[in-house]
Amino acid sequence: MNDTAQASELVEIAFDVNGTERRLVVDPSRSLVDVLRRDLGLTGAHVSCEIGVCGVCTLVMNDEPVRACLVLAVQADGGSVRTVEGLAQDGELTSLQEAFREAHGLQCGFCTPGFLMLLSWYLERLDRTPDDDEIREIVSSNLCRCTGYQGIVDAVRLAVSTRTTLAADGSAGT
């Protein structure tokens, strides 16, 4: 084994992004959010603090929400990543995205992809109607400087009630 540390030894990685396998060769020091944005053109995930406190980079990796600025791209090797670009199917917004639009859950929109990914994951697993405390607990994960959070909380409530209605109709979708 070569014991001389060499900087910038590139690494081959392969992972599923929104249902499609992607193969890349990357510098190991690059974050997942950086590789998604620059190498794959998926600029939906945003970059702000880069130390994991703001949440604008939130997306779903290996079926769990993560802060993509605190994941090295090489750590995504062999796994799956879902970004905001993968939510709407054929241009049709998800009920969560519709709820954000209707309930004014965004103003500038910079934090919105992070919230959408966090909340999509959360709603997919929800098996009951959450109370206000629980909704505020989950959304406290991400910073929003525009809305004061009320619009986001309203959007979540609306999305939950929409989903319940849809389920009663027999149709699916989050």
Binding site: A5, A7, S8, L72
Partner: protein, 282 residues
């Protein structure tokens, strides 16, 4: 600024790398503490050894009344584990670490080895008197938590050593009650002050064993042993609680920083301890 990245397939391979590279290498698992440090340019390891795929280090195993937690156990797994009453407080603590996306990746071993003075898991390990199991290519060491933390962000780990497990001893027999409180300005913040209490009670409701952990009030986590002695042998009377609160404040050596003054932290210790003890008794 780049680095060499290695992803060993076995613990032995990882230990051989650390033996060879020493302080030129840093272990990365969840990266939720290390990557912020690197992004802030406070750390710049030459080599990152990714131990995140060593699944054999991810476990929570209760046996003989105690519990062993593997280093690769994610906070999210601890949060969602159903512990026996002796250790339920560990899940309570894990649930309040940062935010959910941090808990997805952050690991028990990473947190303990990182030894943040405001960290919750170092405080739990100290309060519940866990033994820290550490491996290197030279063999295994078991270090009592009372001597594991040296100073802020510094443990007694050698450069070639990896924390692999913490073993929590069984509490003495009796009814166990525990509670945890973390004082923060915003959800997800590090603790300004945190307090953990685990009590063992006999049939008459007398406290036979008390464990009190204090976080955020010293360079290393504190087990408030004088305060524990104030509670033992009592049923948690107002007088005992007040004595314990004063004793805990004496054990604390809180810093003043941008988040809170030393005086305010002491005030929080005095105020929170009786509240947490009452919750543990309930």
């Amino acid at each position: 600024m780049s680095f060499r990245y290695v992803c060993p397939h076995s613990l032995d391979e990882a230990l051989a790398l650390f033996a060879d590279l020493g302080d030129r290498a840093k272990a990365i698992a969840g990266g939720q503490s290390l990557l912020p440090l690197m992004n802030l340019r406070l750390a710049a390891p030459e080599v990152l050894v990714d131990i995140g795929r060593l699944r054999e280090l991810a476990f929570v195993s209760e046996h003989d009344g105690g519990v062993s937690i593997g280093a690769l156990t994610r906070h999210r797994d601890l949060e969602t584990t159903t512990f026996s009453p002796s250790f339920g407080v560990i899940a309570d603590v894990a649930a309040r670490i940062g935010h959910l996306p941090i808990r997805t990746l952050g690991t028990f071993g990473g947190s303990v080895a990182h030894a943040d003075p405001a960290g919750d898991l170092p405080m739990v390990v100290r309060a519940l008197d866990a033994d820290i199991v550490v491996r290197s290519s030279r063999g295994e060491r078991v270090i009592p938590s009372s001597s594991f933390f040296a100073m802020p962000f510094v443990t007694v780990l050698d450069d070639d050593e990896l924390l692999v497990e913490a073993r929590f001893p069984a509490p003495p027999p009796g009814k166990v009650g525990s509670a945890f409180s973390k004082s923060v300005r915003r959800a997800g913040d590090f603790a300004i002050v945190s307090v953990l209490v685990r009590l063992v009670l006999d049939g008459a409701g007398t406290i036979t064993d008390a464990r009190i952990g204090l976080g955020g009030v010293g360079g290393t986590p504190i087990r408030a042993q004088d305060a524990e002695r104030c509670l033992s042998g009592t049923s948690g009377t107002q007088e005992a609680l007040e004595e314990a609160a004063e004793a805990a404040a004496r054990d604390a050596h809180p810093p003043s920083d941008v988040h809170a003054s030393s005086e305010f932290r002491l005030h929080l210790v005095r105020t929170l301890l009786p509240v947490v003890v009452r919750k543990a008794l309930a």
